[in-house]
């Protein structure tokens, strides 16, 4: 079984934010109203953590980290879900099943990366965005938790297509939306267990680190940065 993971090269990232927009448009994440946004309910599956500015003026540099669900190998969110709406699949993707979710938000409280967002209300979406919703992804109702799924709908369609054409699933057929749109090709994605995949080769880099390693969640999203954290 493949084990899907991601490596983000922060030295190549040009902080354009295209991955944020691509994820939002690909997965029909709702655009919240002004009041809800001010209450901190803005919904972004992939966000850019502008964590810090290094150095002092004028030798300052911004550290911008694209952060998404880390798809941990030992997720802390699945341990507390009372109804098994979130669980880890065999291929390493932590699934989130919307019809099963009861909206208790224990998983949101447990996630150290604040990767999960909640549908507090269903705000009226702008008409032009409703007309270009992605048909492959469901629109979540009010009261469920959602998070990045490594675009699992793309995986299903790619696997089906490969089987129908009687061939193996090549590496480039299945990439999440954020990986596809990155202009500087800073995000690598693929099977971590396959020694020949691009992402495995990127893992041999000395600059590798993960966020909050000390918690033991074993995230599958690695970062490469030449600067010390």
């Amino acid at each position: 079984m493949p084990r899907y993971g991601m490596v983000i090269d922060l030295d190549k990232c040009n902080q354009c934010g295209a991955c944020v927009t691509a994820c939002k448009l690909e997965n029909n994440v709702q655009i919240v109203s002004k009041e809800n946004a001010e209450m901190g309910r803005a919904m972004f599956w992939m966000k850019m953590l502008d964590t810090s500015y290094e150095g002092s003026y004028p030798d300052v540099r911004a550290v911008n980290v694209p952060a998404l669900c880390m798809q941990c190998d030992e997720p802390s969110c699945i341990k507390v879900c009372p109804v098994r709406a979130t669980f880890k699949r065999d291929d390493g993707i932590v699934a989130q099943i919307y019809p099963q979710c009861i909206g208790c938000r224990y998983c949101m409280a447990n996630c150290p990366y604040t990767a999960k967002v909640f549908n507090w209300f269903k705000d009226e979406q702008p008409v032009e965005n409703e007309k270009c919703q992605n048909i492959d992804v469901s629109v979540r109702p009010k009261g469920v938790v959602e998070k990045c799924t490594f675009c699992i709908h793309r995986l299903q369609i790619a696997k089906e297509k490969a089987k129908a054409e009687k061939r193996e699933l090549p590496e480039d057929d299945y990439v999440p939306a954020c990986v596809e749109v990155c202009a500087s090709k800073a995000i690598y994605f693929g099977d971590l267990d396959d020694p020949h995949s691009k992402v495995s080769k990127a893992m041999h880099d000395y600059r590798k680190f993960t966020l909050q390693e000390e918690l033991g969640t074993k995230p599958k999203v690695y970062y490469l940065s030449a600067k010390s954290e």
Binding site: N14, C16, G17, A22, K122, C132, I135, V181, S184
Partner: protein
């Protein structure tokens, strides 16, 4: 039967439980309406089409995903050499513009302040008659045409129109042309591209090169690629933008001081005698005066006093520049967003000339410039400065045609402009929306959306000629018409006997493509990148593919999404420079006040984010929501301030503050940012539309001073002084200020998504 209290309670409890369970069971049987997919009953057949993005001057190639022939999403075309599959947020969001509810469905006429739908024939007749009258009275000089387009062929069509009809006051605002403008002033020709194969040092004056520039994704790739080969990039900008993440060094400097800084670097080169003496002798007229002037006035300590950049930094950058084999000091249109923009540009050109323009290149064959007709002399170029002069002067304008430009939003003197515009007897706009500028139009003939029209986007910034195809992904929904087609009909009707060898814009594009075809060079974009061996073979004359006829080539071109010539020869840029040195005298008092900051004032530095290009972001709710994501600020204007400055004025982080300028007060949400130049307050540009898309926030340019670059008329973004209005700060007064401002700013046609 007797019921005691306990039984009664049980009964009530049971009934309520029954009611609740029954209700819940009934209600869950149905899906909520928002969960219904839009293409519910269709077969959902997926198809892909290639087109190009026009959101910024980059012109990246897109592949659009259509479901049942309706465009749903856009991604980058992986086979295009320009973006290689990458795309930015603006391109991703642009598909929604097709379905925008505010899009005009057909020609509109302004009847007593309201826009009324009319037929195209009626609108065309009005336009033809009015312009015909002007031509008959020989008053063509009283008509202005303001065009903002990133497509050179479309600009060319307007030039042809202006030539045929005699309406010589044609303003073309094109990003690449603006960057070339100062070069044309001093030498008559501009460099075509930065030659990354030779260039090893890039000194970037103010350009947000990896965000919004001539070719942002290409530059990003090249900078990453060449960094490992010893390429260095130093950025001189007033703000730490994402472009700086791709640079090795950042010099925080306000744009008004660029000329002084550039000449300070030139001093280092001249003093060390490490400039390109051969080039200077051959091509630089007036060099000795220039040398004397710089050596007298720009030694590093003096520059430090003027600009605030430490003198050892100037020395370090100067030494890097002189040691580099082929350095390039780069600027683009953004250098004009300052009142001494032209002076800055000329100083940078002079700096380049000292090293022989080593980092730049020109296409050897002059392929496209020979093909594009009507390349008239650039010194006579009409710009917005001329329009402003005319509007405020005594000679009135009879008619104003506007295409693609929202200059009212992009100007500080909005109140005056609005008054002046309402005095013009005929304003015709070709915009698809009623924005701040087209709301003054008497007649609107909306253009097709960019996903519904044909065009070829020519690009030279890669060092190779390339033409990306813009083609319709859907038939046009509404009663719109391509502006170029209107111009062609007008030319035929207004000038009898005009020789126009094409019936519509589509034919014009085809004729241009025919010229490309007849050179028998280059490849289509869907063919793989050629190897070195193939390059050599082609030089001998071997071709991998050939098209039997032009129609074959045209079909192939539309399928592939574009054409490029990876084998084009390059040559170096060796212009004859003729300089008249009068640097430094402009803006002396402004520089002084910005450097020394009188009396509790801060510098207002308006910056552009990569989600917005000249105010278009407001159309896309996805981008408006993401605008302030970095600071977790949504749907309001924020301001960034250095913590040291903030403590001096006792301002808290994440507090609500009201800023006051000579034009009024506006509220901002203040955040701490240690990378802001001390004494400045950085405010983003892009919010605060009054009748275009979503209105939230404030347009900070509307509160800026009336300062413009003299030759191009572009507004100044960073020369206004503000002060904190402590009386109005604090939450209740701040909220009251927001409400008053939003009421003032809300127009009649805006739509608020968030009711």
């Amino acid at each position: 039967m007797e019921i005691n209290r306990r039984d009664f309670m049980k009964l009530i409890g049971g009934s309520l439980a029954g009611l609740a369970i029954g209700g819940a069971a009934g209600a869950v049987m149905k899906l909520p309406k928002s969960a219904e997919p839009i293409l519910y009953s269709g077969p959902r057949i997926e198809s892909w089409k290639l087109t190009a993005c026009t959101a910024c001057p980059g012109g990246c190639s897109l592949k659009v995903r259509l479901i049942d022939n309706l465009p749903i999403q856009a991604f980058g075309n992986p086979l295009s050499p320009i973006n290689e599959g990458g795309i930015c947020s603006m391109g991703l969001a642009s598909v929604a513009r097709l379905y925008h509810p505010d899009r005009l469905t057909g020609p509109m006429k302004n009847v007593n302040g309201k826009f009324v739908s009319i037929s195209y024939d009626e609108a065309y007749k009005i336009l033809k008659d009015e312009l015909g009258k002007v031509i008959d009275n020989k008053k063509q000089d009283d008509v202005f045409i303001a065009v903002q387009t990133e497509s050179k062929l479309r600009a060319d069509m307007f030039k042809k129109f202006s030539e045929e009809t005699g309406f010589s006051n044609l303003i073309i605002e094109n990003f690449q042309a603006s960057g070339a403008y100062p070069y044309n002033q001093v030498s008559g020709e501009a460099p075509d591209f930065i030659d990354f194969d030779k260039c090893d040092y890039l000194l970037n004056f103010g350009s947000q090169i990896t965000e919004v520039s001539e070719n942002p994704l290409y530059y990003t790739r090249k900078i990453i690629e060449h960094r490992s080969k010893g390429f260095k990039h130093t950025a001189v900008q007033p703000k730490l933008t994402p472009s700086i993440s791709k640079s090795d060094d950042w010099v925080p400097l306000l744009p008004v001081f660029y000329a002084d800084f550039a000449l300070g670097i030139a001093y280092v080169l001249l003093k060390d005698e490490q400039y390109d003496k051969a080039f200077v002798e051959k091509y630089f007229t007036g060099f000795n005066d220039f040398k004397q002037y710089v050596l007298d006035n720009y030694f590093p300590d003096k520059v430090q006093e003027l600009t605030g950049v430490p003198s050892d930094k100037i020395l370090q950058i100067g030494r890097d520049f002189e040691k580099a084999a082929a350095p390039a000091a780069y600027f683009d249109e953004t250098i004009f967003y300052n009142s001494n923009g032209t002076e800055n540009a000329l100083a940078v050109i002079a700096l380049n000339a000292l090293k022989g323009f080593g980092g730049f290149g020109k296409l050897k064959e002059e392929f496209f410039s020979k093909i594009l007709e009507n390349e008239k002399k650039k010194e006579e170029e009409i710009t917005f400065a001329n329009l402003k002069e005319r509007l405020s002067g005594h000679k009135a304008i009879k008619a104003l045609l506007i295409s693609g430009s929202n200059f009212v939003y992009n100007s500080p003197d909005q109140a005056e402009l609005k008054k002046q515009l309402s005095e013009i007897p005929l304003i015709v706009s070709f915009s698809s929306f009623v924005d701040e500028t087209s709301s003054f139009a008497h007649l609107i003939i909306p253009d097709h959306d960019d996903f519904e029209k044909f065009d070829l986007l020519i690009d030279k910034s890669m060092g190779l000629p390339s033409a990306t195809v813009l083609q319709p992904v859907v038939d046009h929904y509404y009663n719109t018409i391509d502006t170029s087609d209107v111009l062609i009909s007008l030319m035929k009707d207004l000038k009898s006997g005009a020789k126009i060898p094409y019936d519509n814009y589509n034919d014009y594009i085809k004729q241009f493509a025919n010229k490309i075809y007849s050179t028998h060079e280059g490849i289509l974009m869907d063919q793989s990148k050629p190897t070195v061996i193939e390059k050599g073979l082609r030089k001998i004359g071997w071709q991998t593919e050939s098209y039997s006829s032009f129609d074959d080539f045209w079909d192939g071109l539309l399928d592939a999404g574009g054409w490029w010539n990876p084998f084009a020869d390059k040559t170096s840029y060796n212009p004859k420079i003729d300089f008249k040195t009068n640097f430094g005298k402009q803006n002396a008092s402004m520089k002084k006040s910005l450097a020394s900051l009188p009396n509790k004032k801060l510098r207002l530095n308006i910056f552009r984010k990569n989600l917005d290009y000249k105010g278009s972001m407001s159309l896309y709710p996805v981008l408006v929501e993401q605008f302030g994501l970095k600071w977790t600020v949504f749907y309001q204007l924020w301001a960034e301030i250095n913590p040291d400055t903030a403590s001096k004025y006792s301002l808290q982080d994440r507090s609500k503050v009201v800023l006051k300028t000579s034009r009024g007060k506006f509220p901002v949400f203040l955040v701490y940012n240690p990378s802001v130049i001390p004494g400045s307050i950085d405010v983003p540009f892009g919010l605060g539309h009054t009748n275009f898309g979503d209105n939230c926030g404030v347009n900070p340019l509307a509160y800026s001073d009336d300062l413009f670059d003299k030759s191009t008329g572009m507004p100044s973004f960073s020369e206004t002084l503000v002060e904190i209005d402590s009386a109005s700060s604090g939450s209740s007064a701040y909220t009251a200020q927001i409400i008053t401002d939003e009421k003032k700013l809300s127009g009649t046609q805006n739509r608020s998504v968030y009711a």
